[in-house]
């Protein structure tokens, strides 16, 4: 099918980038055999997961130009669907995950419709509000375990429930999602919706004059982003085997996702990956180092915050923006 061909077609990228990404993929495939400790493995898994989140956010936040800060609620939807279905009715992952994605899609259309009447600051604040509302609901809803969260029963090694005793399996699992995500984004940016979205971002009025229903396009992109993120959420459920509203629907999670994409360079394919590659190890290693220094609590976020402010003030297009600027492409 044409779409599959498009997804694998990276020919419009410069050769340097293609080779670089190829090497990176080989590295990723071989990683578990490179003799890393379990901490390193955990970091890599986080990196791949957050790249996935970042790429998803990118559809609406980067290409679409609508900065939204409420992605965590969809992580929650994905995670909780899998968790609840498994704990209550013993439903395998491969049924609950798609269901979670469907719920995420449905919910995103539902709130997307009024949300996208808004623009700019109002929109961003509204996305925060919706995420906080949902988190509030989950904290108080006994059906999903309220504030205590849900602990998933351990099932040993099983592909049916996607639980494993060896982290390596989880690694390849998330790697598969990651690669699928990259291929999807590659197709997306060249698709009709991708072009329309980019036009909307540059000049919404002009886009409308070309027959584009801007609001509907944004909603579609938002829904896609939500689906991406819900898939990641479902992974978290079977990986951590414990979820609660605080960990999967936290506002800080939404911020990290947006930040990663923006740091690396929103509106580019590599941006979210670069952003995750910097922030995830930073977060993990800094976090563990600080863990031993209780008196320095809070410093890690201060550093992220400083990075955010710096990027915002001097290079809003992120690291990839710097690369592109170096190449001579002006904005």
């Amino acid at each position: 099918m044409g779409a599959i061909r498009e997804a694998f077609d990276f020919s419009d990228f410069p050769l340097v980038e293609r080779i670089g990404f190829g090497i990176f993929c080989l590295f990723l495939l071989a990683f578990p055999w490179l003799g890393m400790d379990s901490f390193g493995m955990a970091v890599m898994i986080q990196f791949l997961l957050f790249s996935l989140f970042g790429m998803g956010w990118n559809t609406i936040g980067g290409y679409g130009g609508q900065v939204e800060l409420g992605k965590a609620q969809y992580v929650g939807i994905g995670a909780y669907t899998v968790a609840v279905l498994m704990v209550r009715w013993d439903i395998p992952y491969w049924f609950s995950m798609p269901l979670g994605v469907l719920i995420a899609l449905g919910y995103s259309f539902l709130i997307g419709y009024p949300l996208f009447r808004l623009k700019g600051h109002y929109f961003a604040i509204a996305t925060i509000a919706t995420s906080l509302v949902l988190q509030d609901i989950f904290i108080n809803w006994n059906f999903v375990g309220a504030a205590k969260g849900i602990e998933l029963p351990i099932k040993g090694n099983t592909f049916l429930y996607m639980q494993f005793t060896n982290d390596t399996y989880y690694y390849y699992f998330i790697l598969a999602y990651f690669l699928a995500g990259v291929l999807y984004m590659n197709w997306f940016r060249k698709s009709k919706l991708g072009y329309q979205l980019r036009m909307i971002k540059i000049d919404e009025e002009a886009a409308e004059s070309l027959g584009i229903d801007a609001r509907w396009c944004k909603i579609k992109a938002y829904a896609i982003a939500s689906a991406f993120v819900a898939v990641g959420g479902s992974f978290i459920a079977v990986y951590n085997l414990y979820i609660d509203p605080e960990s999967v629907m936290h506002l800080e999670l939404s911020i990290m996702i947006a930040l990663m994409a923006m740091l690396g360079g929103a509106a580019s394919l590599w941006g979210p990956i670069i952003g995750a590659a910097i922030l995830v190890p930073l977060d993990r290693y800094l976090g563990s180092w600080l863990g031993g220094h209780k008196e320095l609590m809070g410093v890690d976020f201060m550093i992220y915050a400083a990075i955010i402010m710096f990027i915002a003030a001097f290079e809003p297009r992120g690291i990839w923006g710097i690369v592109e600027r170096y190449r001579g492409r002006r904005t």
Binding site: Y195, Q196, I202, D203, E208, L210, G211, R330, T331
Partner: protein, 243 residues
């Protein structure tokens, strides 16, 4: 049945009546100009037709359908294309990609959209700039890309918003020739909102004049140039001497 009919159009901005009971019509295949001094209500009228504003009174009827109050993307889908005075140039899309977005209105497939876009660019003699970003192009070329983009949606009525603003005399001449070609070879009806008389007068078959929100004259360019009301409205604009 007229191609485009504007009937008793009124638009009121909280006290300021920008368009006051304006009526006129266009026939298919015409080139019609809309002129008037600053503040006459030309832009408001333009926006009421394309859908950016909702008129407070009156109707806009296009090809027999009442499009009053339709949103811009809906009027575009009906076949009304438009250009913009200001092209928001950002370094994110090339000229080709801009035109492709237009082509996507009738196309689902990217390869086809690209082919169509290249055709339009070739028609306008812009193949050379296809892969350049708008920020790298001079204003006159940017405006031509904007025109190409509008053409890509295959409009039957093209509304041109001050298409000559910011152009020097040579560029203006080029634009006039281009518009004539578009009209001749593509059979598109043209409706120009213009300040620059060197563009409107030579190519319009008919000119409508607005002043203070109302239509004060309508007719062939030569008549309009000598119409007392029009001259008064402009208070001695250079065009009267020119023609």
């Amino acid at each position: 049945m007229a191609f485009l009919e504007v009937r008793n159009l009124t638009k009121d901005f909280g006290g300021i009546v920008a368009n006051n009971d304006v009526s006129f019509s266009l026939e298919e295949g015409e080139i019609v100009g809309l002129i008037g001094p600053n503040g006459a209500g030309k832009t408001t009228l333009f926006n009421c037709i394309v859908g950016y504003y909702r008129p407070d009174g009156g109707r806009v009827i296009f090809r027999g359908r009442d499009i009053t109050g339709w949103k811009p993307f809906q009027t575009a889908r009906e076949g009304i294309g438009r250009t913009f005075q200001l092209m928001r140039a950002a370094g994110e899309l090339t000229a080709l990609e801009h035109v492709m977005v237009g082509a996507f209105l009738h196309q689902e497939d990217r390869v086809e959209a690209e082919r169509e876009a290249r055709e339009v660019l070739a028609f306008m003699g812009l193949e050379g700039v296809a892969d350049l970003y708008l920020t790298e192009l001079p204003l006159a070329i940017q405006k031509q890309v904007g025109l190409a983009r509008a053409l890509a949606i295959k409009p039957v009525l093209l509304m041109l918003d001050e298409v000559a603003s910011g152009l020097n005399p040579t560029e203006t001449e080029e634009m006039v020739k281009l518009l004539k070609r578009i009209h001749r070879e593509k059979g598109i009806t043209l409706f120009l909102i213009e300040h620059v008389m060197e563009v409107v007068m030579p190519i319009s078959e008919r000119v409508i004049v607005l002043d203070g929100g109302m239509k004060i004259a309508e007719g062939p360019p030569e008549e309009i140039a000598h119409d007392e009301k029009v001259i008064k409205a402009y208070l001695g604009e250079k065009y009267a001497r020119g023609l």
